[in-house]
Symmetry: C2
Subunit: 171 residues, 2 copies
DNA sequence: TAGGTTTGTTTCAAACTTGAACCAAGCCCG
DNA sequence: CGGGCTTGGTTCAAGTTTGAAACAAACCTA
């Protein structure tokens, strides 16, 4: 089958997408590194914990929410633990598991740095968009994420493996 | 001034954005690593060169187009040069400068791997979007990029330094 | 035209990411 | 029970990214 290249409209969109995502990720990383001493991902990990019941989550759940690999998470959590911002506990219901728990200090760091982070996200993203564009962005991103998570991902036009995880952190 | 937190609509959009961009970047990196033995950024570098007149660009231009730092580019170009996919030449008009030039082999690699790459971009992104959404995405991303490039970036509500670069690669 | 600043690029060490391999602990079924 | 498969996490080496510092050529400007 002969390749269906991108139309010029698609090319423009793709280029704009690449530029925007690189620039945005850079801006946010820079700001957080500056003000919180950590990159965006690490901040997200703390933020996810602070949203969770009891400020704690299983490693796998955390990886799932932040959309990163387990090994990347392990490294990040080790660093954050060293910094005293979270603590590793072992899961009571599954002896294999470990749980990351936000510490007081982690919570404090989050509270101290959240305003600056939000301000950056606003200035870089939401201040540039109309209300409708915010809706559109959500719609678009949700669609992309759905596709990639369900492995509609592959160009290959064939069967869907359909393995999904379950296992909550507290049964 | 008291922080203006994200509305729940904005939060949803932001989370969706993070998820989509992570998943998409991962999917594309995985595919290219698999089929071309290099991550997306490296492919982009080659692609940008192939688009340029004479298949060559100044380092700074290349960094500008790919939206990455000069030092990151230096590393990437060194690797690609080692692989024989491009060559470094020194700029004839500016003795400080160096120029990256796509080799035959680089061009061949690009030609060989482009179809797979396009297929992945399509499957992961464009196949999920309506025509209007493609327009919306372009619009949104262009806005974000414009803001971040002109340093409307900063949350700080003050003066704009306004330093812009010029200097084309071939005067 | 000398001296100071700016611009283009590289270098270096420290931090981070990747993917494959590994180790347990749970799970399943004869 | 007793293997064998799956799942949750970590480890390790190789590769990549970061940011600050170093260099060198180019560009002022008095």
């Amino acid at each position: 089958m002969t390749t269906r290249w991108l139309t010029s409209k698609e090319q423009r969109a793709w280029r704009a997408y690449i530029a925007a995502t690189h620039l945005l990720e850079d801006a946010i990383d820079r700001q957080l590194q500056q003000d919180a001493g950590m990159p965006h991902l690490y901040y997200s990990i703390l933020a996810n914990l602070s949203d969770a019941p009891e400020h704690r989550l299983r490693m796998t759940d955390l990886a799932e929410r932040t959309k990163i690999t387990r090994s990347r998470l392990t490294y990040a959590v080790t660093r954050l633990e060293k910094d005293g911002l979270l603590r590793r506990e072992n899961c009571r219901w599954d002896k294999r598991g470990s749980v990351a728990a936000l510490t007081e200090e982690g919570m404090a760091t989050l509270e101290r740095t959240a305003p600056g982070h939000v301000a950056t996200v606003r200035a870089s993203l939401f201040d540039q968009l109309t209300e409708e564009q915010v809706d559109q962005l959500e719609e678009i991103c949700t669609g992309i994420a759905r596709a990639l998570e369900s492995d509609d991902a592959r160009p290959a036009p064939d069967e869907v493996p359909w393995r999904r995880r379950s296992s909550p952190s507290c049964p």
